[in-house]
């Protein structure tokens, strides 16, 4: 099984978000970029599938600028991916997921791939556009919000579930396909120190996509007013707490009649 996992470097969860000087995007100065969230689950799932399907390989591909993109690819290698390709986003500062999908598809078109795995959405912009755009670009079916992704060797197809608003769908789909993952079989593993050290010397392929002009451009990056913490309801009896809470919810927050 040739598995390709696409990942995006995103700011570490601890990052104190700030707007850049032009007010349009996140200030990336001093920010630590990592493999995180749904992408981390996608890598975990790719490795689990590789371990359970003999003769499988995992190729990690990431679109983004230097040096953060190479760093997350090294993290993917340290976790157990066999090969990595950096699609250099130099010159594209749009943060447009459609542009990213086109750049990734350019590389995907030329590599062996039975399964393309991604997180269902990136941990920063949370667009969820790339998996569906890749399906369309590659001419293969795509599914997002996928859980319990399993290979059925007898039926030579993937079986998985998709909990969506209308119910939990079950699917059986032959390769090639694109999966936007919601959850891996288990929590993501952490890399071992020797593997991390070794990954520093691992070769990383680099390609530059044909330049494309993005149709989605950032104009403003804003932080919400800081949450000041909960207003605590003061009470002597549970009944009093309930009455006061219901009153503020109706009269002040107006969340129900």
């Amino acid at each position: 099984m040739e598995i390709v996992v696409c990942v995006k470097p995103v700011p570490d969860a601890e990052t104190r978000l700030r707007a850049a000087a032009d007010g349009k995007t996140l200030d990336a100065e001093g920010v630590k970029f990592v493999l995180a969230g749904y992408d981390e689950s996608a890598v975990e799932q790719a490795l689990l599938l590789k371990e359970s399907i003999p003769g499988s390989k995992v190729h990690a591909i990431a679109y983004g600028p230097a040096p953060r993109t190479e760093e997350v690819l090294r993290a993917a290698i340290a976790l157990g991916c066999d090969q990595a390709t950096w699609v250099d986003a130099a010159g594209d500062s749009s943060g447009d997921p459609v542009t990213a999908a086109r750049a990734l598809a350019g590389v995907l078109a030329g590599v062996p791939r039975d399964l393309v795995l991604l997180g269902k959405q990136a941990g920063d912009d949370e667009s969820g556009i790339v998996p569906a755009a890749l399906g369309q670009l590659l001419g293969v079916p795509d599914f997002s919000c996928v859980v319990d992704l399993r290979w059925d060797p007898a039926g030579t197809r993937f079986r998985f579930q998709r909990p969506v608003e209308t119910g939990v769908e079950s699917w059986a789909v032959p390769t090639p396909l694109v999966i936007g993952l919601q959850q891996a079989w288990n929590d993501p593993r952490t890399a071992k120190l020797p593997a991390i050290l070794k990954s520093r010397k691992a070769p990383i392929g680099r390609t530059t996509p044909a330049s494309a002009s993005a149709h989605s451009l950032p104009e403003k990056f804003e932080l919400p007013p800081p949450r000041t913490g909960a207003r605590l309801i003061e009470y002597k009896t549970p009944q009093e707490a309930a009455e006061k809470l219901v009153r503020v919810l109706r009269e002040e927050a107006k969340v129900f009649p």
Binding site: V98, P141, R227, L245, A253
Partner: protein, 325 residues
């Protein structure tokens, strides 16, 4: 020349869903002609529904195969509608399928795309959108340029439109043959979401979630009764789903569902970051927890520090009383 706005309708139990109604409201506010598009087995029944909200031109791909085929099968008929109406904007509701369709149509129709949109305005060369990012920790505004835009809204960010009844004109769209790669994919089943009598987790305007503070599955009814009184959906922390007290479909958070209701009530949930990212963009957050230092109180708007086994039944009784239940 700006063309009409096409609203992609989703139907459940014979009615347009809440997210579709929100999209109709947004489309009408854009001030351009609005047309509806629906695909699937009972697509025609959506015609009068669209017309009730003032959308009279409705394109239907009435074909049951579209319900059980991968979402990509809707791209062909939708593209036909976009071409024949000369549309400028496609609007979808804030659902998984709506979001996916936007990603595909961005390619198939060569459009600028955005999802999770909470504000939207026509500007000189396109559309400006605003959307929460980083789990609601920041907001970005983007300009979608060019002649075509595909946009999925964030659920509950917009009100449902007022009714404005009229008589629909239905236009049939032929779905054509499924592309072979899509035809090979088989939907083997659909289990209705375990939702009790209440609304689904991600469409609900109120969500009540329970955590480990409930101590065991035998106490989860406390959360369910409060939810029933509020007309809310029931959610859970991962501590609850991991322990098997409730199925994983209840889980809110990074590895579960992201919800953004008008009101989110966290009962006996500590407020781990992986839970917070799934509910932080709720409009109003209430926390009930016996530990005044629990992190959930940092993100909540209102808090009750106390024993949930006393507070929750009292709250349920009070909600029932004011709602006359």
């Amino acid at each position: 020349m700006t063309g009409p706005t096409v609203v992609v309708g989703e139907v459940a139990d014979g009615h347009l869903t809440g997210p579709t109604l929100e999209a109709i409201g947004v489309a009408r506010a854009l001030g351009r002609p609005t047309v509806g598009f629906v695909a699937g087995a009972h697509a025609r029944s959506a015609g009068p529904e669209f017309a009730r909200y003032g959308v009279l031109e409705v394109y239907v791909a009435d074909d049951a195969r579209l319900d059980s085929a991968p979402g990509g099968a809707r791209v062909g008929p939708l593209r036909e509608v976009l071409a024949s109406t000369g549309a400028s904007v496609v609007l979808a509701g804030g659902t998984t399928n709506g979001r996916e369709l936007v990603g595909r149509i961005a390619i198939a129709w060569d459009a600028a795309a955005a999802t999770g949109v909470t504000e939207l305005a026509a500007v000189e060369d396109g559309v400006r959108v605003r959307r929460p990012i980083f789990g609601g920790r920041a907001t970005e505004s983007r300009r979608l340029t060019g002649e075509r835009q595909a946009i999925a809204l964030r659920p509950h960010a917009f009100p449902s439109p007022a009714e404005s009844p009229g008589t629909p004109h239905l236009h049939e769209v032929s779905p054509g043959a499924l592309p072979a790669p899509l035809a090979a994919a088989e939907r083997t089943g659909v289990a209705p979401t375990v939702r009790g009598a209440g609304p689904g987790l991600t469409d609900a305007s109120i969500v009540v979630s329970g955590g480990r503070g409930l101590r065991g599955p035998e106490n989860f009814h406390l959360v369910e009764e409060l939810a029933a009184a509020l007309g809310a959906a029931v959610g859970a922390s991962r501590a609850v789903t991991d322990a098997g007290w409730r199925p994983t479909s209840f889980q809110v958070g990074q590895t579960g569902r992201a919800v953004s209701p008008q009101l989110y009530v966290a009962v006996g949930i500590s407020g781990a970051i992986q839970h917070i990212v799934g509910m932080i963009s709720s409009r109003v957050i209430v926390a009930i927890n016996s530990d005044a230092s629990a992190p959930i109180f940092k993100v909540a708007d209102y808090g009750v520090v106390g024993d949930l086994f006393q507070i929750v039944p009292a709250l349920t009784a009070e909600v029932r009383r004011v709602r006359g239940l």
